[in-house]
């Protein structure tokens, strides 16, 4: 780690922290508009975080130190994963710390601790949420890996910077069948991982349908804030991964002052577009029964496998 | 003068015991005689290792390395079981097991029978090993049967008599075949000079000129001998008397039958193998031996797997090992015969030890059915239990115990000699027997603490057990140089190199 790479790291860090809640806000308001509601306003996530951080918290009397550690791990692992992916420049600040595999596993680390946190309270909701969360994550994993592999094989490396550079080198690459299929697979995984409809409903607190929300039911105050923030960073990380690997238009190759503003604009545009797609899916689908989710993920797996096969067919 | 003394000492002991009036006298005679026999046998072995084959009584007795090995093993088993028998028979007497039927022999007469017949049995086994003349050898082998029939029928129960009858009848038929074989061998040797003298049937003479034997005669003779002495050795399908006899005989006698007498029957077979193989060459003789050896091994597998009675289990084990040794003989060559001789040595020690353990268990629980013993034997009899398990592992060829070494050599010889199928079957059957034995003995030895009281001290039996157990462990790691030399030269005698 040299000072030369420290600056980009700090910049990306700031960007992550700043726009992650915003993505959520955008999606929330977009969803409201699709449903012809007014919506809470684009800055609502910031207000929520502010409120939560400010409040006191109630720790379940059954919980151990792990309950408190989990939010930190979730937050930190998402944040670190965010530093390993190319956001506005193809050279991710910490890409030499790990490529896409490390990103996936770091997110896994956060989930692992969050699930433990869910169990720690002893509440049956926590256990229920942990169980479902881990199940869905496990089932999403192979599809995600296949899609990731397709990308990595195309680039010859799992390093995301290398992947992004390779993507930049080949325009219109997206129209290769393998890329389209991989994108579709990864999109399904993204929906599953971030707990969106049709897999999970982030807005529900209905006992039987909760997944993520059940797991964190006992969290409150700053801990909840960290978890929410961490979750939004994770969502941003996955979305970024999607847009920058498959649609690298406008991505600045390096952290050079010249290319960055344009790159940032492109980045935001792409994010907005992707958010739109996700919201469209959310509004046009109903939440699935839990035991239908594996079928969806199986579709993703098949898509991923097809993507892989087509890399050497086409 | 060792040679005649070696079998005359136990013979005399047998006669004296029959004349003795008190139990203590019989015990003392037996112990003394067997100790002396053992010393003589060791002396003989030392002499053979040093000087090669020795003769006595004008060539009537002859001992090469094979004889010395078999005699030594017999004497060892004799001594250990004699020590064990003291405790065993006292226990039987105390518990009134010898009472028997009202019109049958009295307990004292039974004891006398046992103490007289056991040395006679050992004496005839030793004579088998020492006789030069194949005819005399047959006479001695027949004598072992006659001496042991009443040992099998010792307890006088209906089942004992059944076992004794089967033993006598099957043994009788078998030995008739062997005698027929002996006659045909003599016929095959008619062209040799001096064929019409006593020496005409001397092994040392025949072996030296085996090439001149009548081939058709030797072929027929070998078939008859294989079936005949095979019956005595308990090779399938002539094995059927074995489980009955071993499970009904008093344990010390069973120990001798299953180890020393098996050796003696194999000894007969080995002698004839050497003649027939040298006369007929490869092909018929080895193939026949391998066929019967594998048949014995294979046939013992199912019986071991579903066995309910541990003494019968041991009997099937003996059948298995007889098969192993016969296979080894058939595979032949320097390696096969070396494996055979080593296996004979190791098997003798392990099998007699197993019978002694089984005897302890049987006397403590008064049953030899696995199912009836609900607790772990090791709980009430730690020493017996531990040694039982150890010896079982040893007998099924589990390293580090030495039977693995010999079996390894044998399979290796099979592969090296191109008997691939035989080698594969050997290993397969070995695994089957392993499974069965461990299944049963593992469950017998280990288990919960039961209601049975811990066994009292049994100085005679336990010291025999300990001595043999220590020997089993010791030979696993180290075979004394002279013994190894003896075994190697025995293998050379058989392989003819």
């Amino acid at each position: 780690m040299t000072t030369a790479s420290l600056l980009p790291a700090l910049m990306q860090l700031a960007l992550l922290l700043a726009i992650a809640p915003l993505t959520g806000g955008v999606m929330r308001i977009a969803k409201a508009r699709f449903q012809t509601r007014r919506g809470p306003g684009i800055l609502q996530p910031y207000r929520d975080l502010h409120k939560l951080l400010k409040k006191g918290m109630v720790i379940p009397d059954t919980a151990s130190w792990l309950f408190g550690a989990a939010p930190y791990v979730v937050f930190l692992s998402s944040l670190l994963a965010g530093l390993m992916i190319p956001m506005v420049a193809a050279d991710a600040p910490l890409s030499f710390f790990g490529g896409v595999l490390a990103v996936v596993y770091l997110l896994g680390l956060g989930r692992f601790f969050l699930a433990l946190g869910g169990l720690d309270s002893g509440s049956s909701f926590g256990g229920l949420g942990s169980s479902r969360e881990m199940t869905i994550a496990a089932l999403a994993e192979p599809a995600m890996m296949l899609a990731v592999f397709t990308v990595a094989i195309g680039a010859g490396s799992t390093n995301l910077s290398t992947v992004a550079h390779a993507a930049l080198g080949q325009s219109w690459r997206f129209f290769a069948p393998s890329q389209m299929l991989a994108f579709a697979a990864l999109l399904i995984v993204l929906i599953a991982e971030t707990g969106r409809i049709p897999v999970d409903n982030p807005a529900t607190h209905l006992e039987l349908t909760m997944i993520h929300e059940a797991m964190i039911l006992e969290y409150s105050g700053p801990y909840l804030a960290l978890i929410e923030w961490g979750a939004s960073i994770k969502q941003l990380v996955l979305m970024t991964l999607l847009v920058n690997t498959f649609f690298p238009f406008g991505l600045s190759p390096a952290w050079a002052a010249g290319g960055l503003p344009a790159s940032l604009v492109w980045y935001v545009l792409k994010l907005l577009l992707l958010s739109g797609v996700i919201v469209l899916i959310e509004t046009t689908n109903a939440k699935m029964r839990l035991f239908r989710v594996p079928e969806l993920l199986a579709v993703a797996f098949v898509l991923g496998a097809l993507a892989l096969v087509s890399t050497f067919l086409f | 003068m060792i040679l005649p003394a070696l079998f005359l000492v136990p013979f005399a002991a047998g006669v004296l015991s029959y004349l003795a009036r008190r139990r203590q006298q019989m015990e003392a005679i037996n112990l003394g005689a067997f100790a002396l026999t053992f010393v003589l046998a060791v002396g003989l072995a030392a002499q053979v290792v040093r000087d090669g084959a020795v003769e006595a009584l004008g060539g009537f007795l002859y001992a090469d390395a094979v004889s010395a090995l078999v005699a030594g093993l017999t004497a060892l088993v004799g001594l250990v079981t004699a020590v064990y028998a003291v405790g065993y028979l006292r226990d039987d007497e105390r518990n009134g097991v010898l009472g028997g039927a009202p019109q049958g022999p009295s307990p004292h007469a039974k004891l006398r029978n046992c103490y007289a017949l056991t040395p006679l049995l050992v004496a005839s086994i030793l004579l088998v090993a020492l006789a030069n003349n194949l005819g005399v050898m047959w006479v001695a082998i027949e004598a072992t049967t006659l001496a042991s029939v009443f040992l099998v029928g010792f307890y006088g129960r209906a089942t004992s008599l059944e076992a004794a009858w089967k033993y006598a009848i099957i043994g009788g038929v078998g030995l008739s075949m062997a005698l027929f074989g002996t006659v045909v061998t003599y016929y095959s040797a008619r062209a040799l000079p001096g064929a019409d003298t006593l020496a005409g049937l001397n092994w040392s003479v025949l072996a030296a000129r085996a090439g001149e034997l009548d081939k058709a005669g030797m072929r027929l003779a070998f078939i008859l001998i294989l079936l005949g002495y095979g019956t005595k050795a308990g090779i399938a399908p002539m094995h059927t008397w074995k489980p009955d006899a071993y499970s009904e005989a008093p344990v010390p006698a069973a120990a001798i039958l299953s180890s020393a007498m098996l050796n003696c029957a194999l000894y007969g077979l080995i002698r004839y193998y050497a003649l027939a193989h040298r006369s007929l060459g490869d092909g018929f003789v080895p193939q026949l031996l391998i066929l019967f050896g594998l048949l014995s091994m294979g046939l013992s597998v199912p019986f071991v797997l579903v066995q309910r009675n541990f003494r019968r289990l041991l009997a099937y084990h003996t059948i298995d090992h007889a098969g192993i040794m016969v296979t080894a003989l058939g595979i032949g060559g320097a390696l096969g015969t070396l494996g055979l001789m080593l296996h004979m040595t190791y098997h003798t020690i392990a099998k007699s030890l197993l019978f002694l353990c089984a005897g302890n268990v049987y006397q403590h629980y008064r049953t030899d059915v696995f199912h009836d013993i609900k607790e772990g034997v090791i709980r009430s009899m730690p020493l017996t239990g531990a040694i039982f398990l150890m010896a079982t592992l040893a007998i099924v060829g589990m390293p580090p115990f030495s039977l693995f070494q010999s079996e390894f050599l044998i399979v290796n010889a099979a592969f090296a000699g191109g008997h691939y199928l035989a080698g594969v079957l050997f290993v397969l059957f070995g695994a089957g027997v392993f499974a069965g034995a461990i299944l049963h003995v593992g469950k017998l030895v280990l288990g919960p603490v039961g209601p049975e009281v811990p066994a009292p001290r049994r100085p005679w039996r336990d010291s025999a057990l300990l001595a043999m157990g220590a020997l089993l462990v010791a030979i696993a790691f180290w075979l004394p140089g002279p013994l190894l030399a003896l075994i190697r030269s025995a293998a050379q005698v058989v392989a003819g190199e």
Partner: protein
């Protein structure tokens, strides 16, 4: 010594007597009455002893006379007496009740005789039949047949006594082989064999006695407690 030792004649004589022994054996196998069986068995040793004596005469092998006398005394006189006594005393039924019926037994015996000849074929030297040193060699087929038929009888007999009888008749085949093939084993061996046979008969006799006491029956097919 008035008779000139013509080996041809001796050969014929021996063959005739051997054939008679075989006929007797088949008769035993096919006969229904126990006492008759014992009597037939008692006749065999006379023929065997004669064969031994003939061979001894032609070959000037005096120890064969000894063997002949022993056989005669032991198997011809002592054993049949003993057996008849046992039968009398035990009072077992006279009928034999074989496992295979009489006609079939006779047929099997015939087949076994055939087998005996097949086995002996490789030893058969018709041209050498006349020489004194190979006198009687051709009776090997008879010996093998006697052995096999005796063996078959052992399987075919239910009662302990009859099994002993069969075993002994089986050994007659051995004896025939021994004297005709090899002109007797060395004397020590011969003695040992006879001694063993004697002891075996005694041992078996005692066992028969005890079995009868323990089971109240002589039927050995009832001895089937020990299985598996």
């Amino acid at each position: 010594m008035t008779l000139s030792p013509d080996p041809q004649f001796g050969d014929k004589l021996i063959n005739l007597m051997a054939a008679l022994v075989l006929v007797l054996q088949i008769a035993m196998a096919g006969h229904r009455w126990l006492v008759t069986n014992i009597r037939i068995f008692g006749v065999q040793p006379f023929l065997l002893a004669s064969i031994a004596a003939t061979i001894g005469w032609f070959n000037h092998a005096p120890h064969l006379y000894f063997a002949a006398i022993l056989t005669l005394a032991l198997k011809g006189i002592v054993v049949p007496r003993l057996l008849e006594q046992v039968v009398q005393r035990v009072g077992i039924r006279q009928e034999i009740e074989p496992l295979v019926n009489q006609p079939l037994s006779a047929i099997v015996s015939g087949g076994l005789t055939l087998l005996g000849y097949v086995v002996a074929e490789s030893f058969h030297r018709p041209d050498a039949g006349g020489a004194p040193e190979s006198l009687g060699h051709n009776t090997l087929a008879v010996a093998v047949s006697l052995f096999l038929i005796g063996f078959f009888m052992m399987i075919n007999r239910r009662k302990a006594v009859t099994q002993v009888l069969a075993l002994l008749s089986l050994e007659n085949g051995l004896f025939l082989a021994a004297i005709s093939l090899t002109y007797g084993m060395p004397l020590v061996v011969e003695l040992g064999v006879f001694f063993d046979v004697l002891v075996a008969v005694m041992v078996l006799g005692v066992l028969v006695h005890r079995i009868r006491e323990a089971f109240d029956s002589m039927d050995v097919s009832k001895l089937d407690q020990l299985r598996g």
